[in-house]
Structure formats: structure tokens, C-alpha cells
């Protein structure tokens, strides 16, 4: 994710520069937290509920910590780093699509009435998004002379178009039908939703070659957003929900005879 940082070295000694203390923390910290979250989830039996999300947490943490090691190690060439980056990017992207599928499944599972239409719609929208993102990628002008770097930027943009579109659909579908997200499903969806939206904007700017001299700012934005999302997942998955007693809404008392008649007619 923040791999471009490795080749940017600035003279200024502010915190918002590559290889500053903040940079090291933002790259490593959230992924250590993510591994901890995976351990807590496993111990609380949430691995059975969200197996794909658990795999995502572990893979993403291992991938980013490996990339960090490759980035700071002087013996690793830029090309090797970018090859690892691209490989991780493809696997991570596919797992994240699986996470979105898992969220959709958890959301629709209790409601057979809309499960079929929901599955059909998400398949159709997914296909349209993949097609549009691929077309957009085909017409992009590379932002870097090295195909591996510009290719990985375009690939990031492609994945985030699809992810962001699917998550938007997920939230809008749930909102239209007033489907209840469980607390944990909502937390995961919220974190990935924030992450995908911000990363889409950031990688679209990167892939288009915008802000070339200030790209490290985009990297900091990506890193900070990721950190926020990990904290969101921590909050929704591990902090116990306050068990407020939800009273069943009182119903108005009129037209009882009419309703009785209606009920009898339905029972016939």
C-alpha cells in the first residue's frame, strides 16, 4: 500500500516525510494491531463467523510487514520490491472482494425475501464495475516510466473502483430495505467502506500522475486512514455492545374490529 514511500527521501525533517518516526509508526503500527485483532477474533470464535475477513487481516498484516522489511532493507532492489508489491496487491484485492461477498451474505442470510434479488443485483453490478474499471485502466496514461510501478498504480485504482462501487451498493441496498446490519458486520463494512473510498481517491490521483512532487502526502493520508479503519474494526468487533433494553414500540389502539376481520380473512 505505501510502497512508493520507499523511494522518496526528503531533506526536510518534518514528521510528514518518508522515513520519519510517524512514517515508520503508520506503516508498522496498524498492521501489528491488525494481527492482534486477528488473534482476539480467533480466540473469541469470530473466525467461524467471518473466515474471509480473518484471512484478510492476517494476509494484509503479513504482506505489509514484509513490504516494510523489503523497503527498509538496503540489499533489496526496487524491482524486487515492486514485484512483491504487485503480487500482494492482486491477492489482497481478491481477498477483499471475498470480504465484501461475506458481508453481503451475512446481511442477506436471515432474509430469504430479498436474498435472491440481492444476489442477482450484486452480481450484475459487480460485472458492470469490473468492465468499467478494466476499460478505464486500458485507457490510462502511465504515470511512471517503469511499467511495474505505473501498472501497480493502475491496478490499485481498478481494484478500488470495484470495491468502492460494491460497498456503496451494499450500504444503499441495506438502507433501502432497512436491513439490520449486525454490529460486527456493520463495523467491518464501515471500516472497509471508509478505506475503499479514501484509497480510491488517493490511487486515482497517483495513477493519473497528479501531485507528483507531493506524493508522500497521499501516502500519509492512506496510512492514517488505514490506521483509523483498524481502530474502527477493533471498536466494533471487540468492544462489547451496551445491552440497552430495546422496548418493542407500542402500537396504536384503533380499528381493532377491522383488523380482526382482516386476520380472519387471511386465516381462511
Amino acid at each position: 500500500m505505501p510502497a512508493v514511500l520507499g523511494i522518496i527521501v526528503h531533506d526536510e525533517s518534518t514528521m510528514l516525510q518518508a522515513h520519519s518516526l510517524l512514517w515508520h509508526y503508520l506503516w508498522v503500527g496498524p498492521h501489528i494491531l491488525q494481527l492482534l485483532l486477528a488473534v482476539f477474533m480467533w480466540r473469541r470464535g469470530m473466525g467461524r463467523l467471518f473466515p474471509v475477513f480473518l484471512s484478510y487481516l492476517i494476509f494484509e498484516a503479513v504482506e505489509e510487514l514484509t513490504l516494510y522489511g523489503l523497503d527498509v532493507s538496503p540489499s533489496v532492489s526496487g524491482e524486487t520490491f515492486w514485484r512483491f508489491f504487485c503480487f500482494g496487491l492482486i491477492v489482497e484485492g481478491l481477498i477483499k472482494l471475498g470480504v465484501i461477498g461475506e458481508l453481503f451474505f451475512c446481511l442477506l442470510r436471515p432474509w430469504s425475501a430479498v436474498a435472491k434479488v440481492g444476489s442477482r443485483l450484486i452480481s450484475g453490478i459487480g460485472a458492470i464495475l469490473v468492465l468499467s474499471a478494466s476499460l478505464a485502466a486500458a485507457f490510462m496514461v502511465p504515470d511512471n516510466n517503469h511499467w511495474l510501478i505505473s501498472g501497480s498504480h493502475i491496478l490499485q485504482q481498478t481494484f478500488y473502483i470495484v470495491e468502492c462501487g460494491l460497498l456503496m451498493f451494499l450500504f444503499c441496498f441495506a438502507a433501502y430495505f432497512r436491513l439490520p446490519f449486525g454490529r460486527q458486520v456493520f463495523g467491518i463494512a464501515l471500516g472497509i467502506g471508509i478505506l475503499s473510498s479514501e484509497h480510491l481517491a488517493s490511487w486515482a490521483m497517483t495513477a493519473s500522475g497528479a501531485l507528483l512532487d507531493k506524493r508522500y502526502l497521499l501516502d500519509f493520508l492512506n496510512l492514517a486512514t488505514y490506521h483509523v479503519c483498524v481502530l474502527v474494526w477493533f471498536y466494533y468487533l471487540l468492544v462489547p455492545h451496551k445491552n440497552s433494553v430495546r422496548d418493542v414500540a407500542p402500537l396504536p389502539e384503533h380499528s381493532l374490529e377491522l383488523w380482526n376481520r382482516e386476520l380472519e380473512r387471511l386465516l381462511q
Partner: protein
């Protein structure tokens, strides 16, 4: 560069929508207790008359073409208003059913699950019917079957009634005016 700007704008809109839905979700949970003031009773018989194909056929035969189109569009607008009310009531009952589901009483939970499923089907049918109504407004001679919405609405009313009776034997929710 232009495409990047479009994507940035789309991403910002997506972020705003997601955050807004997250906030409205928490407000929705907090306000679920005020169902009785939000439900809008609906005159099912009047709606049934509006969607009756025989009435449309009668008007088509009796009225000049231009007058028929005007009357048909007015009837379609009224139909759309009814369908929107039915869909809004269905959405409210989904929330109501969810609250009842969490009550822990198995009998109540069964009735609530049935109500929510019927309300969801009604909401789905309402969306499709609204699209058909707007198409019919552009093409007033086309046939339109909104009967399924009425059937679903009646089924949902029955389930809401059952749930209301199970929850509070002396009370019932009112979804219909007649």
C-alpha cells in the same frame, strides 16, 4: 486527469453516503420506539379501484384519446403516491419487526420474522411497481399490474396485526383506512 477528478468526486460522494448511512442507522435504532406516529394508514379499497384494469378499459372506451391520457396520468400519479406510502409503511414495519425479533419470545420472534419478510417483499415490489408507473406515465396506453402490491400489502397488514396482538393483546397497528 479528468478521469481522476471524476473518481475523486465519486470517492468523496461514496464516503459521505457511507458516513451518512452510518449516522442515520444509529438514529434509526434510537427512534424505533415512535412507530405509531409514523405509520400512515392507507385506503386499500381506493387503491384497488385505481389499479383495476376494468376501470381503465372503461375510461379508455368512454373518453377521447387526449382526455384519457390526462385522466390516466392523474390516476397513475395517485397510484404512485399510494405505492410510496405502502413502501414507507413497509420500511417502518421492518424496523418494528427487528425490534420484536430481539424480544427473546419465540412466538413473537416467529411472527416478527414473517412480518419482516413480507414487508421486504412489499418494498421490493413497490420499487418495481414505481418504475412501471413512471414508464406508464410516459406511455399511458400500456397495461400496468400493481395488484401484487395490494396483495402484499394485505398480507403484511395481516402479519402486523398478528404481531401486534401477540405483543399486546389489546392493541393493533393500523395500516389500512378501510
Amino acid at each position: 486527469m479528468n478521469f481522476a477528478v471524476i473518481l475523486v468526486v465519486a470517492a468523496v460522494i461514496s464516503l459521505v453516503v457511507i458516513l451518512r448511512l452510518a449516522v442515520s442507522r444509529s438514529l434509526q435504532i434510537r427512534n424505533s420506539a415512535h412507530l405509531d406516529t409514523k405509520i400512515r394508514p392507507m385506503d386499500v379499497n381506493a387503491f384497488r379501484n385505481l389499479v383495476n384494469p376494468a376501470e381503465d378499459e372503461y375510461l379508455r372506451r368512454r373518453l377521447p384519446s387526449r382526455d384519457f391520457r390526462r385522466v390516466r396520468r392523474a390516476r397513475l400519479r395517485a397510484m404512485a403516491a399510494y405505492v410510496q406510502i405502502a413502501a414507507e409503511n413497509a420500511a417502518l414495519l421492518v424496523g418494528f419487526g427487528e425490534t420484536a425479533l430481539a424480544s427473546g419470545d419465540p412466538k413473537l420472534a416467529d411472527a416478527a420474522r414473517q412480518l419482516v419478510n413480507q414487508a421486504l417483499v412489499l418494498r421490493r415490489n413497490s420499487a418495481v411497481t414505481l418504475v412501471k408507473i413512471y414508464v406508464a406515465m410516459a406511455w399511458p396506453y400500456s397495461g400496468l399490474a400493481a395488484v401484487r402490491v395490494i396483495e402484499r400489502y394485505e398480507q403484511m397488514s395481516g402479519s402486523a396485526m398478528l404481531l401486534g396482538r401477540l405483543q399486546e393483546p389489546g392493541a393493533a397497528v393500523r395500516l389500512s383506512r378501510t
